[in-house]
Symmetry: D2
Subunit: 173 residues, 4 copies
């Protein structure tokens, strides 16, 4: 199992697709985006769910946390059942978010990867994507890494996704 | 847990979104589409993966089956961990597909729902969607239900998704 | 040239795709969605642009109107240059919206098609789609047809998109 | 009017979204992707239409050329009607493609922008995107610029989209 953590627009999804391409075995990819897609639409507007404010702030409620915990357990169960799984996540809670994964993982081995990107560059890529509220990239660039411990860090500021993916792949199997 | 089975363009996704809207508790939705999205892109072109032929035939290989089994275990684990989960699937193997789910579910209770749609109507909706290979709807309309046992069946041929969803919701909780 | 008018979730896009499929010649399809996609993202949040309120209300400003007028002229120019063009639009201004098209069309012949759908059914399909603000369908179902004159009307409440498309196609060429 | 030309995965769309963000006036954006979306789906499989081969080769037929000419005229008509329009295109025919635009433009002034990206880098980004046939980026990187004359060239190999957009914007108005 590989877990990538990085802020919005830091380039996680591109790295994941490259990883799936360069790794010889088939890996399943899940992430916070696919989890949010699996939730009822109304959870994106309610206090108990996840709220993306116009200024880029993201806040999550208790119902969200409860579903996310069950989702995390399920993803770990896929890995225990033999699937190779790569996760891209945004540790809004920094070290506390990593701790939640650790509790779910138990003794399952995982490669922790930090995906860094300079705040100004990530903010520019947010504009280029055009599908995210402005400000998320800058707000998340630093805080998601606070207190998180990695086996490996990549930085997409000046390194292409495919090159980052090859660096990560070299550490797998 | 709710498992919907029906052919391509029978209206499963629309029913799922309506279910998530009408059910008072938040339900997570997963399905064969989100599973295929989680696989490496190259699995959609390889013998071991899933191949969507131009005539609408879908064939799956061993690597696909192995990943799918792990995914199924993980989705069931989410439900065991307390999440309410609704699945939309296409039982290409009919009764054998249902049996695979049963093995994964163990003693977990599930509501089995068949989603029917007359072949000609589903084929027309396939044209209207424009994002599926032509022919899938007609090829799958009948075979996916062969030998499958349901708690409840809905038919989208002349009934709206929201009405079908309310019928299903009335059987939950 | 064919111009379809109907409220949100009345089924215009599905009919357009079916029309493109059943008409023997290739037709280009444009509509208010593709026009909105062509605008700067910030036009969807500004007073001069288009605002989709949470209650389903849509309001448009002067900058939007000016760009839309130029876009309309350009689409008509495509038809004058020999392309077959089908438009799907939402006449938020009813007869006034039709008059704007008439001014742009000049002597170019067009088939005016009204796409009706009962308000409650369109509202249900809005839930099933899950990608539109709730309430747009109900708010627009009636007003977009006020004072508009059609060559042909179809009703998707109980008629499939493909059948509606065949009815329209029979009037072309 | 601004016309950007560059190969697949050279970063045109990102630059266009950044341009729409940094330019003070609202600009409409159209391109070969939106044109292909406007065509009937079957045109992507037919000899007269556009064919994306598995090796990344793109070939277009006579029906495609005829519709494209009418589309080009219409886009120019939007600009003549007062809209600011930015186009992103792939000049598969190099200088001949530019000549086709020139014929449609008449005396309308336009800023010609070349978007370059080193072939290997564009190919890597194609993998990271995951939604294009492999090989298009490498095949198109050079040929689309053959014989084309620009007012300005940008290179996304080591320059972010937003920075390229600012360079282009500085030349407008």
């Amino acid at each position: 199992m590989i877990i990538l953590n990085g802020g919005s627009s830091s380039g996680k999804s591109g790295i994941v697709r490259c990883l799936q391409s360069v790794l010889p075995d088939p890996w399943l990819a899940f992430g916070c985006d696919s989890f949010v897609d699996a939730m009822p639409a109304r959870m994106q507007e309610s206090d108990g769910g996840i709220v993306f404010a116009a200024d880029g702030t993201v806040s999550v409620g208790e119902d969200f946390r409860a579903l996310e915990a069950a989702w995390r357990d399920g993803v770990v169960a896929m890995a225990r059942a033999g699937a190779r799984v790569v996760i891209d996540d945004v540790f809004l809670g920094g070290a506390a978010s990593q701790q939640r994964w650790r509790a779910a993982l138990g003794d399952l081995s995982v490669l922790w990867v930090g995906v860094r990107c300079e705040s100004a560059v990530a903010a520019g890529r947010e504009v280029a994507r055009g599908d995210r509220p402005r400000g998320m990239a800058a707000l998340q660039a630093g805080v998601v890494h606070e207190g998180v411990v990695y086996d490996l860090e990549v930085d997409t500021t000046r390194t292409e996704s495919l090159v980052c993916a090859r660096t990560i792949a070299a550490r797998v199997g």
